[in-house]
Structure formats: structure tokens, C-alpha cells
Amino acid sequence: MSDDSVPLALPLPRLAAGSAEVTALYRELRKPLLRYVVCLGLTADEAQDVVQDAFLSLQRHLASGGDQENIRGWVFRVAHNLARNRQTSYHRRFGETLDGGRDFPAEDATPEQVMLESEKLRRFAAAIQLLTKSERECLLLRAGGLRYREIGEVLGIAISTVGETVERAMKKLAEKCNV
């Protein structure tokens, strides 16, 4: 998991719209959310809009006294749906931008390391293209720090299905690209 992954099963206090907890939640989830929607295929500007809209929805949700159980999953679900709406409106195919021809710049690395890392990520990107939409979404949400239960809520599938999908996707990636 990444360093910026969300602490799992963190007990959240009762949130109020505009409270410091919501601000802290925004700081905590902004990057994982951006990463998630960018990997779904949105541009940087669209991703920024989606994340802002998701948190505006959270404010409205909290202001109207909405349910606060699994608030991280809720924010991810809203962002996921907003991203999908945008993809539909732009007639994009999901995951179209997860291309294999992109250069991945790396900092503080020698040219050889940059080349090797770029090649590795390019192979990995090509392997990700072979995953199903569900497998890709599960892995992206898992990389965003969500538990299987939260992933299931975002995607509307059972926890056991999430486990199987993640396991299958990981096995495919391990076999396709020799990392």
C-alpha cells in the first residue's frame, strides 16, 4: 500500500459540515481521490473538479444530517459516480487512458534507473489494460486505502466478490508482468 493510504478502520468522530474534521478528511483523502479518478481516465482538471464536487456533496450530506457510517467509502462512491458520469458524457471508454505508451518520469534517479523503471511501469500498464473493468476498479480502490467492505459499497458488490476479484487481478498482474 502507498504511504498516503488512508488509515483503515479509523474511528471518526461525529462530523459536522465545515468542521475541522471535514477539513482533515479533505486533506487526508484528496490525493488518494485524485489518484483514483485520474487512473479512471479523467484529465487533471476533471479530476480536480470531481474531487471538489465530491466534498461539496459531503458538506451538503453532513448539513442535511446524512448517515456518517463509512464516510470514506461514501466520498469515494460519490467521486466514482461523478467520474463515471463525466466519462459517459464525454463518450469515453473506461480505462482508455491507462495506456502503455506513456513515459513515467522519475526523480532522483540515474538515467539507467529511469529507463528501467519506465520500462517496468510500461509493461505494468499494458498488463493493467488486460484486466476487466471490475478488477481494475477494485485494485484502484484498494490502492486508495479502502477496505473490502468499503470497496464493495462503492462498486455495489459483495465483500466476498471483492476479495475474489482482487485476488484474481493480483494473480493476473503477477503472471503478466514479472515484477
Partner: protein, 184 residues
């Protein structure tokens, strides 16, 4: 093939119940193949994170990547404009009376026309100013004077005592002696 293998990712993600996790943990300690798969899954997870970060880094600074280019272009354009303005100001500023008029035979009383040009402000670049001052102050030829006692040049008694000669040496810019003049 181990039955536990299907639970390895869930075990790594801490999604198993304590009993299941304990079973898998004991199995992994003993099973070499499962240890291999655990290590592989960890590497896949890390690579997936790196891939997501790379995607974000590649897409996010779309506008930021143009900032240095635009800034460089702006600086270059400003430098060109400044250089152009400087040359435009400096060149017409030197207004000298034509030498032909001064030396020509005067048939009529010379009328000194007042210079109608507005005095233009010369904008000096500091380096240019220093260069001009150096050019004005440095003579074309350097003159060196050497005092030579007469008894050093003539045999004793040929010239009265106490007479010295002065040798003026003019040095060309390339360092060679251009002219030597001896005087008393």
C-alpha cells in the same frame, strides 16, 4: 496447489478473521511456494502504487509543465525588447557637427544653428559605461621616461659632471617600442 493460496492477498490486506489469518500465517511459514507468492503480491502492490502515482504525476502537472516554457519565452522576449530599445536610444544620441562645415571656406558669416534636437538621454549599460571611460582615459601609446646619467654614455671627462639625458620611449599597444627620443 495450496488451498491457502487463494487467501494470500486477503491475508496481506488484513481482511481475514483472526482464525483464518493465524492459519494462513502458519502455513506461509512452512510453505515455500506461498512465501514466493506473498513476496510477489507485495511487489505487485508496490508497483501498482507506483503506477498510480506516475499516472497522477504525469497528468496532474499538465499546466505546470508549460509554466517554465512560458516563463522562458517571456524572459527571452523581454531581453530582446530591452536590447532593441537600448540600440534605438544610443545610436541617434551622438550628435556631432559635421567636420566638412567647420573646415569649408566661409563665404557668409557663419551662423551657428542651435541644435533643435531635444537632448536625448543616453541610457548606458553599466558595462558599456565602464568600457567607454576606459577607452577615454587610456592613451593610445604609453610613454616611459628613463633618466640616463651622461657619464654612463660618454667616457670620463667628455661631458661635465651632473648632466643627465632623458630617454622618452613610446610603447605601441602590442608592447613593442614605437619611438625613442633622447633629450637632455
Amino acid at each position: 496447489m495450496c488451498d491457502v493460496k487463494a487467501k494470500l492477498v486477503a491475508w496481506l490486506d488484513r481482511e481475514l478473521t483472526p482464525e483464518e489469518a493465524s492459519t494462513v500465517e502458519h502455513h506461509v511459514e512452512e510453505c515455500r511456494e506461498c512465501r514466493h507468492w506473498v513476496a510477489t503480491y507485495e511487489r505487485v502492490s508496490q508497483t501498482f502504487d507506483a503506477y498510480c502515482d506516475a499516472m497522477l504525476a504525469t497528468k496532474a502537472p499538465c499546466r505546470a509543465r508549460w509554466v517554465p516554457v512560458l516563463a522562458g519565452a517571456l524572459i527571452a522576449a523581454t531581453a530582446v525588447c530591452l536590447a532593441f530599445l537600448r540600440t534605438r536610444v544610443v545610436h541617434p544620441a551622438v550628435v556631432e557637427p559635421p567636420a566638412a562645415i567647420a573646415s569649408a571656406p566661409v563665404l557668409e558669416p557663419p551662423v551657428v544653428e542651435p541644435i533643435l534636437h531635444k537632448p536625448m538621454i543616453r541610457r548606458y549599460h553599466p558595462a558599456q559605461q565602464i568600457r567607454e571611460i576606459a577607452t577615454q582615459e587610456q592613451p593610445m601609446d604609453a610613454a616611459i621616461q628613463i633618466a640616463i646619467p651622461a657619464e654612463a654614455m660618454f667616457p670620463p671627462g667628455a661631458v661635465p659632471n651632473g648632466i643627465n639625458f632623458i630617454a622618452d620611449l613610446r610603447i605601441a599597444p602590442d608592447g613593442s617600442v614605437k619611438q625613442v627620443r633622447l633629450r637632455q
